[in-house]
């Protein structure tokens, strides 16, 4: 992992509010929250570098549970230990908890609301665009040489055509990276 900007130790209130904002606007679940977390944590707050952020995704994808929640735990812990993890986690979960509670109490038939369905017919294309562009922006940082590009192409084919599970791909990538280090060490510390 690369060094994060250690100078930016967050105040608990700011950590909480940042993840509250992320939790309040992560529609769609799964990787849909990656662009928002990246914007807040990497670009705005500069708590993590892009490399740190990708490592975070790798770890959180390898654990059970939603990525948004796991990233909050991981990033909070990294920035401020267990109190940080709890702060970021509750910030992420609270918005959806409150919204669902309100719906369960007052708005039982929200699932059939016409206006909301139209609203989301506009939101979904935007979410696709946000995820795609976040992936491309990270790719510019992560893919540094021909080997990286080759690896990405192979991983892409395995994902799309062979339907490999993401966790398997992450493990294969990690093994490949570790074996490169091993190989370089054997050849007398040559840097790859």
């Amino acid at each position: 992992m690369t060094k994060s900007q250690e100078k930016n130790k967050p105040a608990p209130a700011i950590l909480f509010m940042t993840f509250f904002k992320i939790g309040a606007f992560t529609f769609g679940g799964g990787l849909a929250m990656i662009p928002l977390i990246r914007r807040e944590v990497v670009e705005n707050r500069q708590w993590l570098t892009d490399e740190d952020f990708m490592d975070t995704i790798a770890v959180t994808q390898s654990a059970p549970g939603p990525i948004a929640v796991n990233s909050a735990t991981f990033i909070g812990y990294k920035l401020a230990g267990i109190p940080g993890a709890l702060t970021a986690l509750s910030g992420t979960v609270l918005p959806s908890f409150l919204v669902i509670l309100l719906i369960a109490v007052f708005l039982e038939n929200l699932g059939q609301s016409f206006l909301l369905q139209k609203f989301f017919s506009g939101v979904r294309p935007a979410v696709i665009a946000l995820i795609l562009t976040a992936g491309i922006r990270m790719g510019r940082k992560a893919l540094r040489n021909t080997t990286d590009y080759l690896e990405a192409v192979i991983a892409f084919l395995l994902l799309i055509i062979a339907d490999f599970h993401p966790i398997i791909l992450i493990i294969l990538g990690a093994l490949w990276g570790a074996s490169r280090v091993h190989h370089a060490a054997k050849q007398g510390g040559n840097k790859q």
């Binding site: 654990a63 995820i131 992936g135």
Partner: protein, 171 residues
């Protein structure tokens, strides 16, 4: 005791829901509808629709909703904490291991090896979503417009989401 059963059932769901999102729907349905009869299938599909329209991961949305329907506010709290707790501890353990070993060359090699995979997973997720969602000209044009806006401006993702929601209502 219903609160304990809610807590344990959702802790079980939380512990075995790898991949997030829709991959956990089957497990939730199995437990909540078939095993415990807390919701009928109609109510379950409602909660799926509601989850799509509200922020947050579907597992947490389902936990809060089912918990409230079954045992009021204490129920929603028990189920929500239950679904979060397993992954919280697992991620903490992983974070400890990763941060402890971050100077280890093999760890660094492993992470530099998996970063291209992460990029691919993210781009792949957007393509997969795209094939599901882009079903007509309207959604195609909106997607292209959003990509252009994101690349050309620095508008915050939250504003883009809200703005395109409004466009969806107007179109």
């Amino acid at each position: 005791m219903i609160l304990l059963r809610l807590f344990l059932t959702f802790a079980f769901i939380g512990a075995f829901s790898f991949g997030g999102g829709y991959s956990m729907l089957t497990l939730i349905q199995e437990e909540v509808v078939l095993h415990h009869n807390w919701l009928n299938i109609q109510k379950f599909s409602d909660i799926v629709a509601i989850s799509e329209m509200t922020p947050g991961p579907i597992a947490i949305n389902a936990a809060t909703y089912v918990g409230y329907r079954t045992a009021g506010f204490p129920g929603s709290l028990a189920a929500t904490v239950g679904v979060i707790l397993p992954s919280f501890f697992i991620v903490l353990a992983l974070a400890k291991i990763v941060l402890k070993n971050k100077e280890n060359p093999y760890f660094q090699g492993a992470f530099s090896g998996l970063r291209p995979v992460i990029v691919v997973l993210i781009i792949g997720a957007s393509l997969r979503l795209g094939t599901e969602i882009i079903a007509d000209f309207k959604s195609l044009i909106l997607t292209i417009a959003a990509i252009a806006i994101i690349f050309l401006t620095k508008i915050h993702p939250v504003l883009i989401i809200l703005g395109f929601g409004l466009i969806g209502i107007l179109m």
